[in-house]
Symmetry: C2
Subunit: 451 residues, 2 copies
């Protein structure tokens, strides 16, 4: 039987990062990454395979990331875990460990409707072979229906549109696309932008059946509409992969993922879990968080990896920071939307500002940039932010995230020390983050009882 | 005599922002902005007039910013202040006020060398007419010498290069350009990038004389080198404009600027100062800071404007965050460089990481992005950061700034919750900010005494 110090099961964002972190914190320990894939896909890059990148092979997490840290990659399928013996069983035999990290990820959601298993109805598997088949079938498909209009759905639809001669329809059960990430005004803008690129978005659309004769022919909605389809893609989220953990008797949490504490420990002291397979707790109020993102996975992996031989880090709860891009339009979100804040019991003051991300207006590369900030009404604490702009939105949201994580008040943000430059950012007079915070203070002041 | 509530002298970044802030915090008060310029230039946009924008008229702070807040613009030159009477005198008569904000800015530095006053030797005045003359003279100049290789010097040189048939030489007294903003490895990169665009940068070059016969002919260095020049531009920093304040008996500070407390109050309770005319204190150690930037000016203006009728805000000291861009290369800095940290008495651990700001590598729009972080060795507090990349560097540095302002530790940054996206940012596995912090922890741990 092989013996090592640390075993990580899973080699995607969480597994790779957990292994790297473990090596950095415990350089004397040997680390195995056990994974079944020969090559690992970059999860968030998957939609871009179909239009921008051209093939799954161009969307790979390089193994050199692990190899240069001295991590051993074991390409075997892990089947079983024995927590009492400290062993796992794989297709290659048994491995004994001191510490184990489960980073087994998630499996794609499939709609529980008749016909979901017709040929050419594709879940999104993080598997090169599967995606190569999908890519090949897309070539000959004329009518493509994407079910689910979250960011994965939108990105898939837009990328498929870049392949010639496709009619792409996206179906969303909610009244707006992206409604978990953004408030209505942002959702509407993105929806219009996507539509303007020739994609048919249908909201309030509930799928009743995938129709076909073994192979997909059409999608029928509950309102009776029938949409022709040669190919269907399910972009409806992910379900934690807890097969090994559950069979080994590890406790599961309220959403069915592996239960973990703030140190990312499972119900066994020596077993940690991180990424899509692990339960998440919200930064806001501490209830379970349904978010599954690579950036969340890597944070959890950095906590798990550092804590293997003594707790060094604790999780403050998931803020939730992510972005999406369609052409030159980028949107990003951090923390709670106004809608989500209300649903979670917060009273809010929100401010929206709009301005150019260059100064003066004639500087090249600029885009009108809209920022919405959500503050708790009585304390002025920042709860969330949303940005619409061009590529700089992807980093602006990380400034917002820093403010949220440090529980900054509108007043702190109004006196934020930002750098500005004509060719790179908005003007220092009207820098949106600071400007929005100042406007929020005005609103917060109005809401205070007069002295 | 005219009477109003609040008078702001100066209408550039500090003055405009102070006036807007005053109106937002005290909406019942009337605000005058007294300035001599009919139109106000965007200070940081001035270099871009010559190549990118095409004319000073395209680099104007729009008066609508003030007008929509109900601020009255008084285009008169303020000459005198009587703090005891609460009045100022202008070219249009006297104005009585309740509260006064001095935002009189700075005047360009000129070298105290023979010949500095030859025709075609230009300081950089924030004045449309002056810049129009400079622009016109540049048309007929073949050899242009820019003295001073800070970011203003570099940006001027690069923009002038965009006009046909110019030989541009930049002279820097220090061993590297931009050495106040960056550590040597960044300076060298920028220097090489600027040189590759056809600009002759000469470092360790001390000017002895501007030679001419009334009109500039050449620049002689102390080592005897003579550089032909039809036109010379002084890009050697700014001197606080304290003419009115000094004559009125306001206390000046250690650098000769108007002395202010943390609330931006001068030695008279009812008079505030902000921007280039006001003394600055460093966020690091609290000594006087020589930095003069529009973003610093607007922060001070937000403090001054909010405090007019009761102290609401205090200044934590100047962090110093700024950036520059030459073509597609952008560099940005926040807080202390490694060199400056050493000079200020800190023991440091520094980490440099380099990676692409997209993932995977095939995603369009990416640039190799280098990040250096400077941590205090014993506590792990972040003291500074430098970024080299493309346009996203301008906002990445503001994430770094947020971390510095909240005195975040390497450990806080290693567990930063960032959002990532293939088309917008680096990968979540190797996000440079987080990666650099994790590497710093490794170094910090090594430096700690073994338990």
């Amino acid at each position: 039987m092989r013996r090592t110090d640390i075993v990580v099961i899973g080699g995607s964002a969480a597994g790779a990062t957990a292994a790297i972190t473990a090596r950095r914190h415990y350089p004397d320990k040997e680390v195995y990454v056990v994974r079944q894939e020969k090559q690992v896909l970059i999860p968030c890059g998957i939609p871009y395979i179909f239009g921008t990148l051209g093939s799954p092979a161009k969307n790979i997490i390089p193994d050199t990331l692990l190899e240069k840290e001295g991590i051993k990659i074991v390409i075997e399928k892990a089947d079983k875990l024995d927590p009492l013996k400290h062993t796992i069983s794989t297709t290659g035999g048994e491995i004994a460990y001191e510490r184990l990290i489960l980073a087994t990820g998630s499996l794609p959601g499939r709609l529980p409707v008749p016909g979901f298993d017709n040929e050419n109805a594709f879940p999104i598997l993080k598997d090169i072979h599967h995606l190569e088949i999908l890519q090949k079938r897309l070539q000959s498909a004329s009518n493509v229906v994407v079910i689910g209009c979250g960011f994965i759905g939108i990105e898939f639809a837009d990328e498929i549109c870049k392949i010639a001669d496709k009619k792409v329809t996206v179906l969303e059960i909610a009244p707006y696309c992206l409604s978990l990430a953004y408030d209505e005004e942002f959702c509407v803008e993105m929806q219009e932008a996507v539509r303007s690129r020739g994609i048919d978005i249908r909201t309030n659309a509930k799928v009743a059946e995938i129709q076909g004769d073994g192979k997909v022919k059409s999608v029928r909605l509950t309102d009776g509409t029938v949409i022709p389809a040669d190919l269907v893609i399910f972009g409806i989220g992910a379900i934690s992969n807890v097969v090994i953990a559950k069979a080994a008797g590890l406790k599961l949490g309220p959403t069915g993922a592996i239960a973990v504490d703030r140190a990312m420990r499972t119900s066994y002291e020596h077993i940690f879990a991180c990424g899509d397979c692990a339960e998440k707790v919200s930064f806001f109020g501490g209830r379970p968080s349904p978010l599954r993102l690579a950036s969340i996975a890597t944070l959890e992996a950095r906590i798990a990896g550092a804590n293997l031989y003594g707790i060094r880090r604790e999780h403050d709860g998931t803020v939730g920071v992510w972005s999406t891009a369609i052409g030159n339009l980028a949107m990003a979100t951090a923390g709670l939307t106004e809608t989500a804040a209300g649903q979670n019991g917060y009273n809010c003051v929100t401010v929206v500002v709009d301005g150019l991300n260059r100064h003066p207006g004639g500087m090249p590369g600029g885009a009108p940039t809209k920022l919405k900030l959500v503050f708790e009404k009585n304390t002025g604490v920042l709860l969330g932010g949303q940005v619409r702009g061009n590529e700089s939105a992807g980093e602006i949201i990380n400034i917002v995230s820093a403010c949220i994580q440090k529980r900054m008040l509108a007043e702190d943000i109004a006196t934020f020390q930002m750098g500005t430059h004509p060719a790179l950012t908005a003007s220092p007079i009207a820098y949106p983050l600071v400007n929005a915070a100042e406007l929020a203070i005005k609103a917060l002041t109005v809401l205070r009882p007069k002295a």
